[in-house]
Amino acid sequence: MTIAEISPGLTLIGGSLLIPLLRGRLRSAYLVLLPLLGLAHLSLLSMGEFGTVQFLGQKLVLLRVDRWSMVFGWIFMIAALISSIYALHVRAPLQATAGVAYAGSAIGAVFAGDLMTLFVYWELTAVTSVLLVWAGGSVSAYRAGMRYLFMQIGSGVLLFCGAVVQMNATGSIAFEHIGLDGPGGWLIFAAFGIKCAFPLVHTWLQDSYPEASEVGTVFLSAFTTKLAVYALARGFAGTELLIPIGALMTAFPIFFAVIENDLRKVLAYSLNNQLGFMVVGIGIGTELSLNGTAAHAFTHILYKALLFMSMGAVLYRVGTVKGSELGGLYKSMPLTTVFCIIGAASISGVPLFSGFVSKSMILSAAGYGSYVVTWAVLLFASAGVFHHSGIKIPYFAFFAHDSGKRCKEAPLNMLVAMGIAAFLCIGIGVMPGPLYALLPYAVDYQPYTASHVLAQLQLLMFSALAFSVLMWTRIYPPEMRAINLDVDWIWRRMLPGLLRAFTPLLRAMRRGAGSTADATVRAAQASVERTHGLDSRLAKTWPTGRMGLSVLILLLGYLLLYYL
């Protein structure tokens, strides 16, 4: 077996085991080298299926290389490299080890050719990534991590059940197009949907990502949800139901993002919004829209990581990322400010930045397909994402009113990681050719037409105008030290509250049930005592004469019956 027949995910997972054994500069060098080795490993792969194993009568495909798995493999490996560099300042080895193993699990999953292999990596991403949430270190991080783990493991269990049902229905566990024709398809759809943070099951994302450590969130932002996007694209391309789901995902989080104070939580909401674009692309299911989804996942991982890295740097230096506490940091952290603005421009789809060349494909696909309502929602969401990620994040952190806070610029390793991501954001925006060449289908798309660039600039500049006017007139809601309820209120407050409210009743019922049961048992005991107890009728000693009499009567009766 050559290296080209082994999953590149295993390079990172196996390699991560060595991280805790190394110290100091050696570990730093190793942390950079490992993803580079991973990239080299990727470049050695050739298209096809490798590492097939027979297991319980089913064919497991440990490594399937095609254009879909390659484009996600590349971007996951690049994200692993950037995140590892970003983690270099952390002395304890846990985060880097968990992070690299987590990246490896996600990469293993995109190269999995069957549902069982996918399931194993799927659960591995859950257990490795929760360590990054817990690395946040607070009690609330611990609790959010438990809720996160519950959802992630739950998703895996659904995937497993779906795979078994699918196997019984079709006789195969190959991970190809699945669709919603049978119950197995629905179970798998639900599993992917949870991990993709579909509406109503989205809150694990906004709950846990802002609680993770500054390094943890950067790792987390790249892999879990984009793995789900990959899985949906492979299993459910062209499933119409995904269009309204995705459109809803683009729209509703931006309302929360506008009023959210924790800037990393704002980014978590906008992550949800960006996933919506990808989900719509999968639902439309044309070559253009699926290319758009793959391209958008690629660019999104970079600019989202860049934005989370800039906020992580603020958290690391200032100790908070609450909008109400920040402001004026451009004076202390000019480079971080520039990198944040590059990330903000990219997510907003400013021409010459990466988001523009990928999001346009999905919007155009919706337009060509005459999904007018969806298209209008996506355009609204594009304006909205510029509003909260493009303007709000850099504005409240680095400008706004001067908070008087002064700190050092971000550490060198963070600046290098942000620099690489920023370089790629601009590089892809200016020269989309190499990215387009990686996409699953041949690309015949030109993002840079005068008409298109002008339309996008108008959309963005007028959105900026709206923000400026609302700020100028003080209508814009100020950042406040407060939280906003989301649907997780149902299981964090309402259900426990109901349970508490019913506790006295339940207790009374148990007491009642207990006393009834006691009385019944006591009555039974008494009746047994009456017949079988000491001196009771059945416990008495009988004289032999009475025995003889009884036998005589029995025999006479028998004789009588015999002659009758």
Binding site: S140, I254, F255, F256, V258, I259, G328, Y330, K331, S364, G367, Y368, S370, V372, W375, L379, F380, A383, G384, F386, H387, F399, H401, D402, S403, G404, R406, T449, A450, S451, L454, A455, Q456, L457, Q458, L459, L460, M461, F462, S463, A464, L465, A466, F467, S468, L470, W472, I475, Y476, P477, M480, R481, A482, I483, N484, L485, D486, R492, R493
Partner: protein, 90 residues
């Protein structure tokens, strides 16, 4: 302006610290929007949907969308806002 930062000898005054410069930024956004509308007159529009042919469609859509977004979110806050310790006190 909760903590107005006073310029000190160690920290020079920045360009954005002056109110008139902030005003300049504000008005330049207006000017940029106007220029983008003017630019539309000189561009051959080719678009995917009928409504995009309307003059300044994307600009006005963005403006209305964002104002509506902020006002709706502001109303939403009245319903959803809770103290930071909401989930902590059990």
């Amino acid at each position: 302006m909760k903590h107005p930062a006073k310029p000190t000898a160690a920290e020079p005054e920045r360009w954005l610290d002056r109110a008139e410069n902030v005003r300049k930024v504000y008005y330049s956004v207006w000017i940029a929007c106007a220029l983008l509308l003017v630019a539309e007159l000189f561009i051959d529009k080719h678009v995917e949907l009928e409504m995009e042919h309307l003059f300044g469609f994307h600009g006005f859509y963005g403006l209305v969308a964002c104002v509506a977004l902020v006002l709706a979110a502001k109303a939403l806050r009245r319903v959803l806002k809770r103290p930071e310790s909401y989930y902590d006190d059990r």
